[in-house]
C-alpha cells in the first residue's frame, strides 16, 4: 500500500506542477463562480446596473463557443488534410503550386474579413460563422499538411514502396505519422484563430463568449466585457497549453 500511495502522491505532485492544469482549474472556476462575483464587480464598477451577464449561463456560452470552434476545426482538419494529401499525390501534383499559393494568399485575408464575407453569402447565425471559421482554419492545416508530407524523406518513401507498402499503407503508416507534428502545428494555429474569431461571430448572431463582450460594449457595461473577456482569454490559453501537451506527447512516441 505504502509505495503505491507514495507513487500516487508523487504523480499528483508532478500533476500539480503543470501550469496547464492550474489554468484549466482557473477556467472552470471562472465559468462557475462568475455569477457569484457580483460584489467584486460592484466594487470595480460603481454602478447600480445589472453587472452579471444573465442572458445565458457562462457554461452555456463556453459550451456554445467550444462547439463552434470544435465543429469548424474538425471540418477544417478534414478538408485541410484531405486537400494536402491530394496535392502531394502523384495525381494531384499538378495542383500543388496553386493549392500552396491559395493557402498562402488565403492566410493573408484577415479572419474577421472572411467572417464578414460569409455573412452576405450565407446569412446570420451559427451556420455561416461555422462555415467561415472552417474555411479560414482549413488554410493553416493545409499548409502544415503539405509542408509535413513534402518533408517525408524520399528514401523512406522509396523504400516503403519497394518493400511492398500499398499506397494507402504508405500514407497511413509512414507519411501521415511523419507529417503529424506539422499538421498539429497548423491545427493549433487554426484553433487559436478560431477561438478568437468565434468571439466576434457573436456580432453575426452566433452565441459565443463574445456575446457578453459585445453586449457590454454596446451597452457601455464594462462588467460584461470583463466577464466574457476573462473566460475567453482563459479558454484560449488553456487550449494552447493543451496543444503544447499534445505535441510533446507526439514527440515522445
Amino acid at each position: 500500500m505504502r509505495p503505491d500511495a507514495a507513487a500516487a502522491l508523487s504523480a499528483a505532485g508532478r500533476f500539480a506542477r503543470r501550469p496547464g492544469l492550474w489554468l484549466f482549474l482557473l477556467l472552470v472556476a471562472a465559468i462557475f463562480l462568475m455569477p457569484s462575483a457580483g460584489i467584486l464587480f460592484h466594487a470595480l464598477f460603481p454602478d447600480d446596473r445589472h453587472l452579471i451577464y444573465s442572458r445565458a449561463t457562462f457554461l452555456e456560452l463556453t459550451l456554445a463557443h467550444c462547439q463552434l470552434v470544435a465543429l469548424s476545426s474538425l471540418a477544417a482538419a478534414a478538408a485541410g488534410i484531405g486537400l494536402g494529401v491530394f496535392a502531394t499525390r502523384e495525381s494531384g501534383r499538378e495542383f500543388a503550386p496553386v493549392v500552396r499559393a491559395m493557402a498562402a494568399i488565403g492566410q493573408t485575408f484577415p479572419p474577421v474579413a472572411v467572417l464578414a464575407l460569409a455573412i452576405p453569402a450565407l446569412g446570420y447565425g451559427a451556420p455561416p460563422a461555422l462555415a467561415a471559421l472552417a474555411l479560414y482554419a482549413a488554410l493553416p492545416v493545409l499548409e502544415g499538411s503539405i509542408t509535413g508530407l513534402d518533408g517525408v524523406p524520399a528514401s523512406a518513401r522509396d523504400a516503403a514502396r519497394g518493400i511492398g507498402f500499398s499506397p494507402f499503407e504508405l500514407l497511413w503508416r509512414i507519411e501521415l505519422p511523419l507529417a503529424a507534428p506539422f499538421i498539429l502545428a497548423g491545427l493549433r494555429t487554426a484553433v487559436i484563430i478560431n477561438i478568437g474569431t468565434a468571439t466576434i461571430a457573436s456580432s453575426a448572431g452566433a452565441l459565443s463568449l463574445g456575446s457578453p463582450i459585445l453586449e457590454g460594449l454596446s451597452a457601455a457595461n464594462p462588467a460584461y466585457v470583463v466577464e466574457g473577456g476573462i473566460i475567453a482569454a482563459l479558454l484560449a490559453i488553456c487550449v494552447d497549453r493543451g496543444f503544447d501537451w499534445l505535441s510533446e506527447l507526439l514527440k515522445q512516441k
Partner: protein, 310 residues
C-alpha cells in the same frame, strides 16, 4: 528465376534501357555494373515493378509481372537502397518487422523472426530499441538489409547499398553478403559502380553502358576475355591482371618442396602471395596447409607465367 526479354524504357525522350534481355538463375549473385546513368538502377526497379517497362516482358519465377499485383509482388522481394530509407519514426525493431507486419504475421512469429534476422546480421539487441538517427551509417544499412530479408524473400534487390558507407563498414557488410548468399541460397540482384565490389561478390556480372548490355559473364571470364575496349577500360586495364590474381588460389600454382623461410596459406589468393613477396622482398614463399605444416612452395615466376594459361 528472373527473366527479362527485350525490355526497353525511356524517360521522356531519353532512353534509359534499350532492348535488354537477361536471365538470372536461381541462387545467383547477379551484379549489374556500369557507369552512372547507364540504366542499371532502372533495370533493378523494373524487376519489382517500381518502374513499368515500355516494351518487352519481365518474368519472375515463370510469371509475367504485369499479371501480378505490384504490392504483393514487392512483399515477396527484398529491397535495399543506397539511402537506406529506414522509417525515422519507428524503432529499428519495428523497421525490421515492417513487411512481416504488413503480411499479418502473429506477434510471436514476428518477434521471433526479428530476433533471428538481427542475430543473422549481427545487429546488437540493444540497437533494436533505438531509432534510426541514433545509429551509424553502417548500422543503419545493416538494419536496412535485415528489413529486406525479414519476410524471407527468395529474391533480394540491392541498389548500390554500400556506396555511401565508409570503407570499413563497406568491407564488413560485403563479407556479410557473401556469407548470407552462401548460407541462404537466395537470388541476389545487386547494382553497383564499384568493380572491386562486383568482383568480390558476384557469381555473374552484367556490364551495362548507355542502357544496353555489353557483356554478361562470370567475374573471372570477364577479366580474362573482356568483350571490348569499354569493358577493358571499365575494369581498369592496367590493374586487370592484378585483379585476376584474386581468383586463383596459391594451392593451384604451388610446386616443389618448401625451402623459403616466409610462409603463406594454401587457400590465399595469388594476389595475397604477390603482395607478401613484395613486402618481404623475396621471390619464393613456403605454402602451409590448414594445420600450419609447410606442404610446398610457390615461386614468383609461377604466379606470372600461369596467368596466360588460365
Amino acid at each position: 528465376m528472373i527473366e527479362l526479354r527485350g525490355v526497353s524504357k525511356a524517360f521522356g525522350a531519353a532512353p534509359a534501357v534499350v532492348d535488354l534481355s537477361l536471365s538470372i538463375g536461381r541462387g545467383a549473385f547477379f551484379v549489374l555494373i556500369g557507369p552512372s546513368g547507364c540504366g542499371k538502377s532502372t533495370v533493378l526497379r523494373m524487376i519489382n515493378a517500381m518502374i513499368a517497362c515500355d516494351r518487352g516482358a519481365i518474368e519472375l519465377r515463370g510469371e509475367d509481372i504485369r499479371a501480378m499485383d505490384p504490392v504483393r509482388l514487392r512483399r515477396g522481394i527484398g529491397y535495399v537502397i543506397q539511402s537506406v530509407g529506414l522509417f525515422p519514426h519507428w524503432t529499428i525493431e519495428k523497421n525490421i518487422g515492417a513487411v512481416p507486419r504488413l503480411l499479418g504475421w502473429s506477434r510471436e512469429t514476428l518477434a521471433a523472426r526479428v530476433e533471428e534476422i538481427a542475430a543473422l546480421l549481427q545487429i546488437d539487441r540493444e540497437l533494436l530499441r533505438r531509432y534510426p538517427h541514433q545509429l551509424s551509417g553502417g548500422q543503419q544499412q545493416r538494419a536496412g538489409v535485415a528489413r529486406a530479408l525479414a519476410a524471407d524473400p527468395d529474391i533480394v534487390l540491392m541498389d548500390e547499398p554500400f556506396a555511401a558507407l565508409d570503407p570499413v563498414s563497406r568491407a564488413s557488410l560485403q563479407d556479410e553478403m557473401r556469407r548470407l548468399h552462401a548460407e541462404t541460397g537466395k537470388t541476389f540482384v545487386f547494382v553497383t559502380h564499384d568493380m572491386d565490389e562486383a568482383l568480390r561478390l558476384a557469381t555473374h556480372i552484367a556490364v551495362m553502358k548507355d542502357g544496353r548490355l555489353v557483356q554478361t559473364a562470370a567475374p573471372r571470364d570477364l577479366l580474362n576475355r573482356p568483350e571490348d575496349e569499354f569493358v577493358r577500360e571499365f575494369f581498369g586495364r592496367e590493374a586487370m591482371g592484378l585483379r585476376l590474381l584474386d581468383f586463383v588460389a596459391v594451392r593451384d600454382r604451388m610446386r616443389g618442396r618448401p625451402r623459403a623461410p616466409e610462409t603463406i596459406g594454401a587457400d590465399a589468393s595469388l594476389r595475397d602471395a604477390l603482395a607478401l613477396m613484395i613486402e618481404r622482398r623475396c621471390s619464393r614463399l613456403s605454402v602451409t596447409d590448414g594445420g600450419g605444416g609447410k606442404i610446398s612452395e610457390i615461386d614468383i615466376a609461377d604466379i606470372i607465367k600461369g596467368q596466360d594459361a588460365t
